[in-house]
């Protein structure tokens, strides 16, 4: 992850995402978009635009793929990478 990013933020694994778009529809701030790009499976994956996330978790809970979406919440403290 990008350590310089501002918390909270949503991270979507572009390779795992199946492009259903549920997270985009569920985001109250409209900060998730369907990418123009295709992933290796041929899906237009979802992307976080980079700012505006309020850490509501909607994208996480509406996403059917267990490891596609990770949301780092406001109180997240990055662990030291060993």
């Amino acid at each position: 992850m990008n350590e310089n990013r501002k918390y909270p933020f949503s991270e979507i694994d572009p390779d795992i995402c199946k492009g259903c778009g549920l997270c985009v529809a569920a985001c109250p701030r409209g900060v998730l978009v369907v990418s123009e790009k295709l992933n290796s499976k041929g899906f237009h994956y979802s992307e976080y635009v980079g700012e505006g996330c309020i850490g509501c978790g909607n994208c996480f809970y509406t996403c059917p793929e267990p490891s596609a979406v990770t949301v780092y919440l406001r109180n997240y403290v990055p662990e030291e990478v060993s």
Binding site: K18, C20, A25, Y61, T62, P64, E65, P66, S67
Partner: protein
């Protein structure tokens, strides 16, 4: 509450890190289609298991349907089971592991069609389990056929003209049916069609899993869920379709929530200690006697057919004779009339008592018949071997036997019992008569055996039966010696 403590929302630890049971290369993602509701529900379950720290104690039952591969994902004990039978399997899994959290995960075809009875009965028994019922109004796995929950007019691959309620029936409202039963503690229907409802579903999932953890019994969570592939639409319109079409038919509601007022189920601990097993089976009370056989007995082996009306002590006469024979160390067998013979008001049984191993247990060529009524005399005197003994009940039989090559013992069996004040003791009159005719048993020994023959009966009953044995024995000795 727990939510507030989270600092990151990521793949919950209720899921297996790498889906090792999943064949092929893609062990990092599910087999579910884009936008499928199963994945959302899976995540809510896996998150709850992690949050309650019960992943280790959980056992997931995977059904047949799209979630047949649920076992790929949950980092729990897993059983994959036949179509519709998840609640039956979950029942015995829960009984076997009463401290575990047993999850039956099922779709609508599995649960409401082929497994309809299994879900009702598990619910009715109040089994300690949680059932997650994914209702997407279609058979997903097999390619979009009609489900019991398919809506009126809905087109599927087996309702190409739309579901016609006149021929296909109505969509089944499962929560409403489950709610008719007394035992369930929690019955709820939620939906995945938007965020507020996904959050309500999350709350229901957690509540239901907590109920199971706390052994409160049967919790049922129906979840209206998208099947974009089966419905042939995109994911977001599929959510809209739930709201507009499914919810009117399947209203969202908490039908029941009585877990607070329900006490925890307690299951006994099985007794496995061999000494304790022997004590409970009363090994010390088993027959271990080997009474001395009478070397001068008129019979050294008996194949006796005992017959009469039901209620004349036919079966109990036979069982008593077999029991006494066993005490003398004989091999014994007792076979009740059985099958078509039982009809027509007559009952009969075959008893064999002999020193060597018994072959056929049915006395097709008996050397003794005890006939308690006329039809029995007529039927069974014919099959006696020549020279065989025929004991018959003159109280109820006023004809003579037709054969002349038999030893006959006409005895007023019912009359003797009546004189003793209880018709029911005629079986013991028979036992006494048998002892006298065969010489195989000593009536005194039979009296000694009374406590084991009439276990749990009062001393008075035993006294009366002793008298009956004695009377039967004496009648033969006095009249036929």
């Amino acid at each position: 509450m727990i939510m507030a403590q989270k600092t990151v929302l990521r793949k919950p630890l209720g899921f297996i890190d790498v889906y090792k049971h999943k064949p092929g290369a893609e062990k990092d993602r599910t087999h579910y289609c884009p936008g499928c509701g199963h994945g959302i529900l899976h995540k809510l379950i896996a998150e709850a298991l992690e949050d309650f720290d019960i992943v280790d104690r959980t056992i997931v039952i995977s059904p047949v349907g799209c979630s047949v591969f649920a076992y790929y994902y949950f980092h729990t004990g897993n059983l994959q089971v036949p179509h519709g039978r998840a609640p039956a399997v979950a029942t015995s899994v829960s009984r076997a592991n009463p401290d575990s959290i047993v999850i039956s995960y099922q779709g609508d075809g599995d649960l409401a069609a082929i497994g309809g009875n299994n879900i009702l009965q598990a619910a009715n028994r109040g089994e300690n389990m949680v059932v997650f019922f994914v209702n997407n109004a279609i058979y997903g796995m097999t390619g979009g056929q009609m489900a019991p929950t398919t809506l009126e007019g809905q087109k599927t691959t087996t309702t190409p003209y739309g579901r016609n309620v006149k021929t296909d029936g109505y969509p089944i409202q499962v929560c409403e049916i489950i709610n008719q039963l007394t035992a369930p503690v929690y019955v709820v229907r939620t939906s995945l069609h938007d965020m507020p409802n996904i959050r309500k579903t999350r709350a229901a999932v957690r509540k239901a899993i907590q109920n199971t953890r706390d052994k409160k019994g049967f919790s049922f969570v129906e979840v209206l869920s998208m099947c974009p592939s089966g419905w042939k639409m995109d994911s977001v319109p599929a959510q809209k379709w739930i709201e507009e079409n499914m919810i009117p038919r399947f209203p969202l509601d908490t039908f029941r929530d009585i877990s607070e007022d329900t006490s925890a189920i307690e299951r006994p601990v099985p007794v496995m200690d061999p000494e304790e097993v022997k004590r409970i089976l009363e090994y010390t009370a088993l027959s271990d006697s080997n009474l001395e056989k009478n070397p001068d007995a008129a019979f050294d082996r008996v194949a006796v057919r005992i017959a009469g009306f039901g209620g004349q002590g036919i079966m109990s006469t036979g069982i008593a004779l077999a029991n006494v024979g066993m005490e003398y160390g004989y091999n014994v067998s007792w076979l009740p009339s059985y099958g078509p013979e039982m009809r027509g008001g007559t009952a009969n049984c075959s008893v064999k008592i002999q020193a060597d191993t018994i072959g056929a247990s049915e006395c097709t060529e008996p050397n003794m018949v005890i006939a308690m009524n006329q039809p029995s005399l007529e039927k069974f005197e014919k099959i006696l071997v020549p020279g065989g003994a025929l004991i018959y009940n003159t109280t109820l039989i006023d004809i003579e036997p037709s054969r002349t090559d038999l030893k006959v013992y006409p005895i007023p069996i019912t009359g003797i019992a009546d004189e003793l004040g209880d018709t029911r003791v005629q079986s013991m009159v028979n036992v006494g008569a048998f002892a006298a005719v065969t010489g195989m048993f000593d009536p005194g020994e039979i009296e000694n055996l009374m406590p084991s023959l009439f276990k749990g009966k009062s001393g008075e009953v035993m006294k009366l039966n002793e008298k009956a044995v004695r009377k039967g024995y004496e009648y033969v000795k006095e009249n036929f010696s």
